[in-house]
Amino acid sequence: MTMLKEGRPTAPQAVTQSDAPPATVTGNRALMLEEALIFEIGSTETTGVDFADAPKVVSRLGSLARTDAIGLPGLSEQETVRHYTRLSRQNYAIDLGLFPLGSCTMKHNPRLNEKVARMPGFADLHPLAPQSTVQGALAVIHELAGWLIKLTGMHSVAMSPKAGAHGELCGLLAIRAALEARGDARSVILVPESAHGTNPATAAFCGYKVEDIPATPDGRVDLEALKSRLGPDVAAVMITNPNTCGLFERDMKTISDAVHAAGAFVYCDGANFNAIVGRVRPGDLGVDAMHINLHKTFSTPHGGGGPGSGPVVLSQALAPFAPLPFVERQGDQFVLIEEETAQGHHGQTFGRMVAFHGQMGMFTRALTYILSHGADGLRQVASDAVLNANYILRSLDDVLDAPFGQSGPCMHEALFSDKGLAEGFTTLDIAKGLIDEGFHPMTMYFPLVVHGAMLIEPTETESKAALDQFIMALRSLARRAKAGDEALKGAPHFAPRRRLDETLAARKPVLTWSDPALAQAAE
């Protein structure tokens, strides 16, 4: 590789044939190790655990004893540790660098949160343990609920939803229960076209008809179109604010007033609450229900796709319909209101949405994070998240098209499009190029209202130095995509895998491992 005079390597260049290293017999490349599947390296006779001998008893399994082979390979402890450690090294993660997934919000996960969640007094509690033995856990739920209510300016909160989309279900169920309680059957949910895909899916799942509301050219809900559609058949409007174009819905209060005047409710998708926490209370904007993704706003780790946690804050009008269970303070005691104790005085609850009490392990993490930041810190969180996003927007809008760059400051995420790239070059190429530069790509092709969307959310936990390096990489990629640099089409060049064939995976789905020898014999 060519070196600068200072001894640092120059920018990566296409490797010429003569420079190409020989293949290794193992497929490994020094520290980057290939790892076979457990089904290829383990055996059903191997185990990494030891148990005490079982006392001799007469089996009470009757005729149901499992006699067939299950087909579960085992590994010794060391093999297990190696297998998963090697696999972990093929993952990008927030601990490795900037993870600018717009709308997903990947911020630093403080390790104190993990330590607290693992305290036996929280981690080793059964959900049906007698209430006298879990007063501290109920206190955590109550204390976190108090913060969420105060931060949002709402009346109450339902803690049990398991994730953001589950929270959407909770909000719509409460809305439908409230409408039914007043004998008002409504059938339509209005959803702006910039909404998360979960919004229309949730509304349809609850038996509603979904109608789109268009966006204005400046990336916000078309207020006039919305107002003209309101009527006695509309149950609710599902709105995302700040919205998925990264903009604050300026007309939110006007929208809420119009929706309420029409007898409907306002559901706010709170996935982007981290942009306004401590600075704006959704309750002041007329919101009736909003889920809060604890993993996004309050930094609980998302572990390769979950778990999440989606408590839903509710207005006074919807509070009586909140799901079971919930925690109440009665004098010195915390009481879990569930089926046994809900008789009578909580008769309007729409019921239960999940077996137990929600994501307790996420509650302890979120509360730990909230207490660490405090009211002043959370306000700074929103401030820095928005500052970082606007810094990205203004540092790139001369090389990448920013469709709403003139629509006012962005909130916590900056939106760009593929407009102006060379013929045949797409958002995907820039994303895969970012991988070679050592970054996780931004969110691609979302929101759908913008062609070739690139939605970048840096979050508040990135330093200016990290942002500057990311900006430098993206500026370079934008120039290459505009210049039609063919090497970019082959990116990523340096990842554990080159571009993966997603079409093949969908056309001939292979969803479980089967022994190739047996598969071949069967053909």
Binding site: I38, F39, G42, G48, A54, V57, V58, G62, R66, L72, G74, L75, E77, Y92, A93, D95, C104, L112, V116, F122, A123, H126, L128, A129, P130, S132, G136, K162, E168, A201, T202, C206, I276, G278, D284, H302, G304, G305, G351, R352, V354, A355, F356, M362, S372, H373, G374, G377, V381, V386, L387, N390, Y391, P409, E462, R498, R499, L500, L511, W513
Partner: protein
């Protein structure tokens, strides 16, 4: 504010690039009346790591954790020993702090784990395919009912009286809005399961029969006749497993003809955590895979011909099909699936069978000892690691009083079924490998005094 890296100098430099005088200027689109100028009143300011840890530790100490007492609770959540390496591995930052594997080239670690997890779950439950996990068992159960509705185009689901009452509650909540008719009766204190009654209830409108295995009272039964009857009527059999360790000892529901098998995976690798996060297992026959909710990981090749994994069949999902999606689910329980998969890999088939054998043997010993207590009878003589005792008085009160003696002695049926007072003397007792002979003796003596 130790998590925020920007300095005031950074902030000023960045504002000058943006062309704004202050951060407040970035919030101009918020209506003035909703813009808060100062901190929200009534909330404390930031705190040091030490003081937050002290506060949370004080709250943790107000709980009696399972490990501090003889512990016999189950009913949908089970205490098993989790090897130390499981928690160590899931805390590796590359797993813990990764997101959904939307960029497969740099998420092969997560994706390969999900592929292995899917295979492990499918084999354990006796099905062709499994998805990459759901929120928990109760929501997976509801999703299975919805999936049966899509497949059969029928809207009447028959729920076994032995199905966990919270799972029934979740289904009832959802059915109010989807229009499904759910048929369910509370259990009686009968040693025999309701298989015959379920078979008798199947008709041409039935989308599925939902049966728990082992059921909420710990009873087990051959599901084959039920599967045959359901199929003969064009309905599906949905089996629910809340204690997957049981499948190391008893037949898999898929092998008995179940079309969809869902479960709560918490038992393996995840821990009690006061109810969540847990892990929904979801598996089915191959022919129904395109009606399945949730994420799927599939095998493919990369541009250089190497094997790799991607999320696939996403045209079922909400981010593509919006209101036509099979489910609104977006998040799965990725980290819990990882913990399950690691624990299952450590066990292997041999370890799982040994674990199941140990659970069953200890449960048999406990049942024998507890039924020596005057005023106690055993409901079901056939069980895996959980059984129901019938006490001479209301079990709710007994459980509360036992807790005052630091014995966590099972789950009362009165708490689970407040609408069915006639079964209030029932106590569901779970026994896992974490229970010692001394625990059993302590429990028996305490119970004897309570019932005296």
């Amino acid at each position: 504010m130790r998590y925020l890296p920007l300095t005031d100098t950074d902030r000023q430099d960045m504002l000058s690039v943006i062309g704004a005088a202050s951060i407040d200027d970035l919030f101009v689109d918020v209506p003035a009346e909703a813009r808060l100028s100062g901190k929200i009143a009534g909330l404390p300011d930031h705190a040091s790591e030490l003081s937050v840890e002290r506060h949370m530790a004080a709250l943790a100490r107000k709980n009696l954790s399972a490990g501090e007492a003889p512990f016999f609770l189950g009913a949908g959540a089970y205490r098993h020993h989790v090897p130390a390496s499981v928690d160590h591995l899931i805390q590796r930052g590359e797993f813990l702090t990764a997101y959904t594997p939307y960029q497969p080239e740099i998420a092969q670690g997560t994706l390969q784990v999900l592929f292995e997890f899917q295979t492990q779950v499918a084999r354990l439950l006796g099905c062709d395919v499994a998805n990459a996990s759901m929120y928990d068992g109760s929501t997976a159960c509801w999703e299975a009912i919805g999936m049966a509705r899509r497949i059969t185009k029928r809207g009447k689901a028959i729920l076994s009286s032995g199905l966990h009452p919270h799972y029934v509650s979740v289904a009832n909540t959802m059915a109010k809005f989807t229009g499904d008719a759910l048929v369910h009766q509370a259990p009686t204190l009968d040693a025999v399961t309701d298989i015959d009654a379920l078979i008798a209830g199947i008709d041409k409108d039935t989308s599925c029969v939902v049966v728990q295995y082992p059921d909420i009272l710990g009873r087990i039964a051959d599901l084959t006749p039920l599967a045959d009857a359901a199929h003969a009527a064009g309905a599906l059999l949905v089996a629910v497993v809340t204690e997957p360790v049981a499948l190391g000892a008893i037949k898999a529901p898929g092998a008995m003809g179940a079309d969809i098998v869902v479960g709560e995976g918490q038992s393996i690798g995840v821990g009690l955590q006061f109810g969540g996060p847990y892990l929904g297992l979801f598996a089915c026959k191959q022919k129904y895979v395109r009606q399945m909710p949730g994420r799927l990981c599939g095998e493919t090749v990369d541009a250089a011909g190497k094997r790799g994994f991607v999320l696939t069949l996403s045209t079922r999902e909400q981010h593509i099909r919006r209101e036509k999606a099979t489910s609104n689910i977006c998040t799965n329980s990725g980290l819990c699936a990882l913990a399950f998969s690691i624990h299952m890999t450590l066990l292997g088939e041999r370890g799982l069978r040994e674990l199941a054998t140990l659970n069953h043997a200890l449960a048999c010993q406990a049942a024998d000892r507890l039924t020596q207590v005057p005023g106690v009878t055993l409901l079901n003589d056939s069980f895996f690691n959980e059984f129901t005792l019938i006490l001479s008085k209301d079990a709710r009160e007994v459980v509360r009083n036992l807790a005052d003696r630091d014995v966590l002695g099972g789950v009362s049926l009165g708490r689970l079924f407040p609408d069915a007072p006639q079964i209030g003397n029932g106590l569901v007792v779970a026994v896992t490998e974490t229970v010692t002979p001394e625990d059993i003796e302590t429990f028996a003596k305490a119970l004897e005094e309570e019932l005296a």
